[in-house]
Symmetry: C2
């Protein structure tokens, strides 16, 4: 695409939309050369814009509908075809934008992005990836909340999504990924976790092991895969801890240090600084074909701005496109899907066989 | 029961059993008037005891088998009838002990206790309850890991278990309980969470709402109910945070303060002290008929001692027996179970009806 990048922002998504979103867009516009396209109710957006100083890098695109936080994802997709979210993603789909950022209803974002942009071939669903500080560097948590119920195949595929993201975005060519469990013994954990491990062992594509949450910050693994309900709960619990720590420490300690001070801090304390200063930016929706980032519903203007800058970074790197062309990833996803289909068919066959046998017995042993 | 209390301890359960368990028992024996009954491999236990100074309040009971951490719960129950765990719980069942403490395989403890001691009438399964520090006082997390997969009925019943525990053990006559979710909207969350909310709304027995993990420490609710996999993961994540904070702070700050210093600390900092000083004691297995506590597998001798003292406290209070006679609890459990059975039957009836209709269509519309 010639000219500057265009970042489409769902201006109506988020708890304090559109005001905070517009403020965030203004903040971002002063920091980037990308154009920002605010999608939403034209009148309200122009009113918000009027209260801000003029910025030439912001455009507005009208969308008459708004997805509410309480809307079910698939329903929002079907019934609100002209929502700000849907129109923003449509711009991305048509190549008129390079990335989409939304702080809205995440189930609706996942459903709309999956439907309009499509997924990497072989993938069953996308997953949200969030980087958390660890003592080594960062640890990727996937799925951080795209879906609140996962089967074994979803967790197994998320392992490869995480590996590909770490390879292409964080420069870790050989990342180690763990599956979150509540013990390292093979008998522990719910069926989905055990199913994922079985699928991964049978396709034998990557050495994966169980990790427990208390080792998350040790740097033992580069990425941890879990169900979106669990991942989102972990993120929110950490948010609660950070909030509580802020109340415990006198203001300014150890929260408000500059990035230079932060870099100068020795490692043990630095982890705390990084955790406390961690901004709820935006999480990439891994597995869709184009750059989509989901920001926290309670994002501040500063966090919205960060999300826009991150989206620009991902779009410039072409991360989503590179993941879609990652031949290793495609191979692994296909292998997992094949194995899974084999399981399903075997299951059906067995059920049919036992069902048939049962019917025979009922009929008094007739063949 | 005349004479002192007897606390049966599964001496072979735990990562560093039996040594650490024996050390913990010794430590506890110096602090309580209760007798401690160590159950396990006689020879090994006598060898451990020989290295400790003589204590008259400790007895040994032989059990030839040991449940391993990797054993599946129901299998351990069926195949290892003479395990230290099973023998200890049998002593409790026969009235020869007043409480059982085990740091062993929690799935096996849950299965064995459920089978040998029985549950409160109407209850489908027990749940582990753990108290965490909040800014108000404490917040009860249930289930903290008894089961790694839960349906709506299990979560709904756990709400009443939590309420009854808070009433009888923490002196909160009117506790507020929340169900953990990743949003407060009714469309959010997995089926089990939505099912639990529906069951509770239909029986209309207690005002319950969704809570998110970032508000856990705010004191907004007295108890939070979640699936055991999620609860256990949250506990372990907090453990990881505490470990990381210990690395961040120079030794002794703010960890090593005496209880008096702790009490003298103003509230915001006190939360941190309470979190950091929180000992991984033992969690009561709520819903079984007699006092069973599960300690962390990695418990230190000090934590085993704490667990024994806590078990004695619960046994002395008669908490488990009082919960078993709590008429409100029994009523609510029965109402939930009735409602659930009604659902199941309606589901079956509908399936039968639609199945029958389908069969009719297949036969060309015959009645």
């Amino acid at each position: 695409m010639a000219g500057p990048m265009v970042i489409a922002v769902d201006a109506m998504g988020g708890d304090a939309a559109p005001d905070v979103i517009v403020q965030g867009a203004f903040r971002a516009a002063t920091l980037t050369s990308a154009r920002i396209l605010l999608v939403g109710d034209e009148k309200r957006l122009h009113r918000c814009l009027a209260s801000e100083p003029h910025s030439p890098a912001i455009d507005v695109l009208h969308a008459p509908e708004t997805v509410d936080m309480g809307d079910a994802g698939p329903l929002a997709l079907r019934r609100k075809k002209l929502s700000s979210l849907s129109v923003a993603i449509d711009q991305l789909h048509r190549g008129r934008a390079d990335a989409v950022v939304s702080a809205g209803n995440s189930a609706a974002i996942v459903a709309t992005a999956t439907h309009q942009l499509g997924l990497i071939p072989g993938l069953k669903r996308p997953a949200l990836g969030v980087l958390l500080p660890s003592f080594e560097s960062d640890v990727l948590l996937t799925d951080a909340g795209a879906h609140s119920e996962s089967g074994g195949i979803h967790l197994a595929q998320a392992v490869f999504l995480a590996a590909s993201f770490l390879k292409h975005s964080c420069g870790r060519p050989d990342p180690t990924i763990g599956i979150l469990n509540i013990g390292h013994e093979s008998t522990k954990g719910p069926r989905a976790v055990q199913g994922a491990m079985k699928l991964l062992t049978e396709t034998a594509a990557l050495p994966v092991r169980y990790v427990e949450a208390h080792t998350l910050f040790d740097g033992a693994v580069d990425g941890v895969v879990c169900d979106g309900f669990v991942g989102n709960t972990m993120l929110k619990l950490l948010e609660g801890v950070v909030g509580a720590l802020r109340r415990c420490f006198p203001p300014g300690v150890p929260d408000a240090c500059t990035p230079e001070e932060n870099a100068a801090t020795p490692e043990p304390q630095r982890w705390l600084h990084r955790l406390m200063r961690r901004e709820l930016g935006a999480a990439p929706l891994l597995g869709v074909r184009k750059t989509v980032l989901i920001a926290h519903g309670r994002s501040t203007a500063r966090e919205v701005a960060n999300a826009i800058l991150e989206a620009e970074k991902f779009a410039r790197e072409g991360l989503f496109e590179r993941m879609g062309q990652d031949s290793q990833l495609l191979e692994h996803l296909a292998a997992l899907r094949g194995r899974y289909t084999h399981w399903m068919l075997t299951g059906l066959k067995n059920r049919w066989r036992f069902g048939a046998k049962k019917a025979e017995t009922d009929k008094g042993g007739e063949p």
